[in-house]
Amino acid sequence: MLLTVLSNERVRRYLFQAVFALVILVFGYVLIANIQAELEGIGLEIFPFVSTKGSFPFIDVSADFLDQRAGFSIDQTSFGFDYSASDSYSRAFITGLLNTIQVSIIGIAIATVLGVIVGVSRLSSNWLVSRVATLYVETFRNVPLVVQLIFWYVAVFLKAPRIGDSLDFFGIAFLSVRGLALPEVHGTSGFGTWFIFVAIAIVVAGAVRYLLTRRQDETGQPSYPWWGASGALLAIAGASFLILGAPLDVDSPEVGRFSYEGGMTIRPEFTALLFGLSIYTASFIAEIVRGSILAIPKGQTEAAQALGFNGSQRLRLVILPQAMAIIIPPLTNQYLNLMKNSSLAVAVAYKDLFDVGAVTINQAGQAVPLVALLMAAYLSLSLTISAVMNGIYSRLKWRSARQ
């Protein structure tokens, strides 16, 4: 009887899955129970926010150590998020998370642009351009990231002039070892009105683009829809800006005794991390771009040539759109790497998520829950990047399938 049931392939398959799931569950339980027992021995709990008293683990966020005062300061914050030393550990954690997100987003943007430029340059027929690109890739791909970070921080940004001898860019911006000070722009009373004009400008620009594209499709004459659209946008937004009497208030920095007063200061720690991450990742992206372009059959280039497209049109209209489908999956990996590598920030004193987590572990002594939180946070960031990239990928495939 048992043998008959087991000989059914479907039953067997489900059985194996069930056994496997059970083994994983038991393994996980033993692991957690063991950690719990060890931690209880020294008076700690594995998840202080999960009460183990009672029959079922109830979530008890109120008794959470994360609500305690953090006491340490984080001077580098992102997206205008406010944090002070009297805030809670959880707020410190969010500050770190936002710092990681900020450096990752900007890093990904720079790495992509730089990577595409270098990747295309490596295929250039210009000897100098292609050699410089090769040198770039081989240098930055083969030196460990943490070494590069220390290089950018210690050997480049810390070598900037002292604050008293700040490099002065027309009295608007200043550069010194204390950072790059830039004017900060605030909207004044007329800003809301101007924003309405900008919205109108965007709509008009869209319409211009649509009309010009249609004309181009109908007549076959290039009518430069993007140039037209940008022109319309700039004209309306610029004119209304001037008519409203420039409704922006510029807060210019001034050189102080210790730091810049007013404006906004980009700290060398952030810049060093950003440079290190983008330049390192760009060297990998360059290779992905180069490989993907080489994967497009030569006939495509020749066909585009036969149609009379010039070099940049060939690349922009024929090669890159096809290469995109090959580029995106490995590119996603690089984006994930960049985000995860940002956890090396501690080497250059940037307060990222991992750094804040490590300090919290040290001050609050709760290693297990914080490491779990850190893992969950990085996992969420990674899955978000993957989801966005997969969305772009499927849209791209859908578009190429439609054509």
Binding site: E9, R12, R13, F16, Q17, V19, F20, V23, I24, V26, F27, V30, L31, A33, N34, A37, E38, L39, E40, G41, I42, G43, L44, F65, G71, F72, S73, D75, A85, I150, Y153, V154, L158, K159, R162, I163, V177, R178, G256, R257, F258, S259, R267, P268, E269, V346, A347, A349, K351, D355, A358, V359, I361, N362, Q363, A364, G365, Q366, A367
Partner: protein, 376 residues
Amino acid sequence: MTLKRSVAILPLLLVALAVIVFAACGDDDDGDATDSPTPGDGTAAPTDTDAPSGSHSQILQDVIDRGSLNCGVNNAVPGFGNLLPDGSFAGFDIDYCKAVAAAVLGDSEAVDYTPLSASARLTAVQTGQVDVLIRNTTWTTGRDADSGLTFATTTFYDGQGMMVRAADGFTSVDDLAAATICSLEGTTTELNLTDRLPDAELVTYDSNDTLQTAFIEERCDGWTSDKSQLAGRRSEFPADSGGPEALVVLGETFSKEPLGPVTIDNDAQWSDIVNWVVIGTIAAEELGVTSSNVAAMAADPPSVSVARLLGVGFGGEAVTDTGLDVDVTFMQDVIAQVGNYGEIYETNVTPIGIVRAGTLNALWTDGGMIYSPPFK
């Protein structure tokens, strides 16, 4: 067909793998189970029901079996815990690692040093990566009560200070109210500075060496740390940046930093051993026992206190067993191989320019705080 079959085999392989892993873990559990009746109190149990011949302390047993002590230390604070160019460690804290090894194993060189960053050190004790942490660690309520750690008797009464460049002309900590300050991260220093100078901008580093580079490049105006560390770093400040004279440690001390060895909370016996090694070095100084006269004093103890400290009989009195589970003569090894408190201080701390007389670290008989509970 072949593809389908191989797909069906995959979970089977995974199950087999999981069973192997699980079985391996199960073996460990069995090992514990002989000690503990229920798996829930696995850690407390081994100390309750151990073989009578063995020690009561699991860590002590591990150290003896291993033949060496795992000591968590600093590697970048001259005078306290410093890695020398020849690869050896030296300093005040290092000598206390040696003292514990001498007491437990009879050999002060049987130490494996683990350099730890400020932010990784406590976790290293909690997870058992090191048997004892002797790395200028401040005794605080949070660390003692909340983090599952135990602090031994304070070896060095420190306080937080501020070091500035002499050329900048700062004379008090208040001059730096809006300045940029560099500090190590994950330290009580970081918290104290925020309390003392709430408006200062703080840049925190994970290594003293990067911090020093940043300070030389004037990334920050002040360098805050325990005064002992500042004195140590100042004494070795590179000559091409002006040497020690280019730096000034401001007079104000704005925190209490009692530094001492740290052990895990669940092994009271082990904590006692570490604690009494520290106390023993202080008692030895009080009683005038030094590394050069310890052998003579053990042979012919001048007083009953000395005899008890060194674990020898006095005037027909039987040798008192300390109950620490180490050799009764353990302090002989410690003093002979490492020295008493005063000797350890003289060798390590005096050279970096911290005078002992008149500070909290003088003996209580000289107006300081260094005091030994009775050794009996």
